[in-house]
Amino acid sequence: MSDSLRSRLRRQRRETERAARPLPEWLLSRLDERLEDADELGESELSIDAPERLEEEGDFAARIESRCAEEPHGDWRLEEVDEVAPDAFARFARDASLDEVDLRGAVYLDIETTGLSGGAGVYPFLVALGAFAGEEFRVWQGFLRSPDEEPAMLAAAAQRIGSASCVVSFFGKSFDRHRLEDKMRVHGVDPPFDALPHLDLYHPCARLYRGGLPDGRLQTMERALCGVRREDDLDGAHAPAAWFDFLAGRAHRLEAVFRHNLDDVLSLVTIAAHLGRAPHETRADGTPLDGPAGMRALGLARLAVDRGDREAALPWFERAIERLEGDLRSVRFQRAEALRFTGEPERACEEYAALAGEAEDELSVRALIELAKEAEHRERDPSGALDRCTEARRTAGRVCAGRALARYKADLDKREARLRARLG
């Protein structure tokens, strides 16, 4: 190999190290913290032991961790999955196949990979599958001691997943599942996922709590909802480097990866248990649920609206307004809408009038338009409606611009023309 090629390759290496690969947008919101440079890792906090208790399983190895189902993980016991509201997940996850989901028969899945990009060069080097077995919760952690063990390990993982009644994961519908499926296909292993319901806790968590927490990550959720406090947790972003080090004969960070991965799986169980109790807002023993209760109420209200059940939404809106602080105008607007369609238009109009009167913003414009509609159709008061329209137009002119303004104007033009025609 010539010298110039050597220097050229060396330069490429520097470039590869320098230029952080752009990640897909959808991952960023979940993974903000994972983007740190691996070099910043403080090694002192980490184990320096090689992974122990690995059991040979044919052509690869696995570790099995057992926890008693009564054992707590954070503030919750694993067995509390038995207490969930039966239809909670179908509603939260908007997936009918999750009706009557059997959390006892599920497999809880979390994997560690060598990268987030996807593609054939990414290795799922640690695959954790948790499942209840009688009074125990067992976590099987399939591990690659070398990249050539991948086919055997994935075949075993596929078999374990395939024998469960459903899959529970956090963001796994978008990530873990695809990394496994891709590599299974490369090795001619049939992926087991198509036949199984998949409960991805990320989305229900986001729908209920996202606005009330700094981000939507698993670690944030487990802390806020289940009281999990991890000690010396390894940042997931350092997992690839830990495995690369292990392959190069330095196993010092690997134990931390196993522990991190195990904690993730245990949290899947308790977060699922928590979410399943959200409609009751209490645990089975009657103690109230942790987590931002105002956001939860608002989330439950919106979910009810989404499935067309405004009746059910109304009390949740009331609670959200009671519990939340700060600017509630938009929540009040939504509550007014729910009132209007559940036989209480007068109360709705009071709220609209209050919203229009107390401030001047886009919401006032919308409230005025709603009032105009009510005046026109219910109160049969075209001239009152026209007044509202005039007011809405004036406000819009002051607080809106660009396309929004154009949209309101077009709407008002039509409405006013109709009203004028009616008035003669």
Binding site: G115, G119, G121, A241, F244
Partner: protein, 792 residues
Amino acid sequence: MAFPGSTRRARTRAAHGAAGGVPGIVAALRGDPELAERFELWHVEPARAGRAAPLPAGLHPALESLLARHGLDRLHEHQARAIEHALAGEDVLIATPTASGKTLAYTVPVLQSLLESDGAARAIWMFPTKALSQDQSTALNKLIASLERDWHSFTYDGDTPPSVRRTLRDRGHVVLTNPWMLHQGILPNHAKWASLFRDLRYVVIDEVHTLSGVFGSSVANVLRRLVRLARHYGGNPRFLLSSATVRDPESHGRNLLGRDVRVVTEDASPAGERTFGVYNPPLLNLVAGLRANALEEARRLAPRLCGPAHQTIFFCNRRTAVDVLTRYLKEGARKMGLKPEEVRGYRGGYLPLLRREIEAGLRDGSVKVVISTNALELGIDIGRLDVAMLVGYPGSQAAFWQRAGRVGRRGGPSLAVMIARSDPVDQYLARHPEHLFGAPREALGIDADNLVILSEHLKCAAFELPFLADAQGAVGDFGPSEHVPGILDYLAEESALLHRRDDTWYWMADAYPAQDVTLFGNEPDNVLVLDAETDKAIGEIDREGSITTVHEGAIYQVEGETWKVERFDYENRRAYAREVKTDYFTEAETDTEVRVLRLEEKLARPGDEIALYRGEVHVTTVATIYKKIRFYTRESVGAEDIQLPPEELDTEAFSLTLAPETAEELGLHGGDRSAGWRGVGRLLRRVAPLWLRCQPSDLGLSTEIKSRHFDRPAIHLYDRVMGGVGLSTSLFRDHREVFAAALEVVDACPCRRGCPACVGPVEEVGARGKETAGRVLHHLVRNAPLEPVPID
């Protein structure tokens, strides 16, 4: 799709049905005394009867009846032969002119494989440009639909919405795509395409003559990766290639695929009489040799070439020219008996829907005149037209014939006229038009084992599947280069990208290498042009062209409408424009500078009488000013500065310098004589690709009569790609052969004072250019070899 059956459809105002038609146009042009002396040449190729052949034996009955329904119970002989070779399991390259029915020749084997396997077989169709595949997909789907099976073809490219990609992956039998998508999207994610690779019977690649030089060498490596993956899943695809007529297609096919291909070159389709005219605009200024503007001449000739009874295509070499001529011809449409909407512009930057509409209009005959860049040079199906006008020589014989090949219906007469510009090459061809009609002389270079390109693609390939060494330590599935194991070891030990375990290299890094590896072609890194009012896209333009077309103040034209660019957001690749009425358009000028950063190696004679260097340079191209030019009169109505960051290129260069005394002795002075030095540079750039197996366009050239860095005459030849790919390093190594070859060209060339085939036409190198260049080359070759000298 150039499907012979489809060109037979009735056209109400077909050329030969109208009074006079093409023969009438030719007769009128030839009979006009004013024009007679401007046409430097008339060349007529007589009508040719085609040679038909029966359908190859063994075709599936459903396919036979499909062909029969299209009136294709007999094929052109070359189609039949290509199909037979393909069905016999050979890789085939069909190198025949545009619209000779190449598409049919590779469609039949693909459909046959689908029918034989009852829909299990898969195929990839790759097009070297983005624009092509939509059109082909539509046509192919129609054919497949008429087989009445639940089979599908689809386009998978950057425009495919992520939401439908999965469905397409699962349901597509034929995937139409481009090299970039294959490189960055499909191959690295091959698991998602496992069934495609497992059942992959054919890889069809269209227009392979565009796959040459650094781009072609990169694509050859992409194909190595593709074959490797197919084999992993148990597939073993055959290649069906199509190409324009090129020199030595056998070598080109072998260089691209790494194996021998069966070549079919004889066009057996029937052709009507074809008339070619080479037109030289009148001299405006005898002393300066200045001729009338070619675009203006095209406008003046247009009424004689355009009309309601036939279809005419104009080819321009620049986007601005297309837009200006479109405006002229739309405005003059009535006088030609046309409606303005029957005259259309067409170029790459138009949005896909608009392009589809124009293509359809050309096919169904409702568009009578189209003005295009090279965007219509490649195989987009617009049927065959009647008259072509080439405003300027397109730069290569292959492109000339591709453009001229757009005209000539089955058995009908056609006309192609080339207008020479004042450009020296055009003027030379105007005087020696026989150059145009000889055998193709341009070689297509591919070097798939270029070490930089190879190592880049080894990274990508290692990401896709581990590499395995055999008992001798060799790697068998990535070409013949002996360097492969060494590069892999380096990537493992030094770069920490791979992990070697026993005899296997595994990708072992948190990175997606294809993202950082470029194919060096015209990559889709486009600037979007938006209506500043509505934010709606009105066009797009490639990055290189953006600095001269959508700078602030530029007039951006789409189909004769004029838009003024208000803001160019260079960082985010967006230009915002507002529609205006103007009587001018804009033309920008650029300036390129080569700065020597670091010299790495030097060869010289004592006292640096001659010195050669290899090193790193920084090349800056900056848009300097733009001129406002009035439509029609072309008078300049003002000029303004362009404020844009320069386009920068860090790359490797080969530099040649002469001591000032030597330059003096050899007759190199400033002014006219320095043109001889430029001639040497041009000649080196022309012959170097023969050694480097690249394209002349892969090398940049800068000649200085007094270099700022060296303080003497210098010629820089640099890799025209970011980072360089080792071309100038090879040039440094092989300089003796390259100099000798250059000298041989000059000595052997029968021209007296320079021509495009040697140092350049006399208009460019001056009266003594050839003589001076010859002296310089003699001096470079004659003496003792140069000695290595440490860099000071």
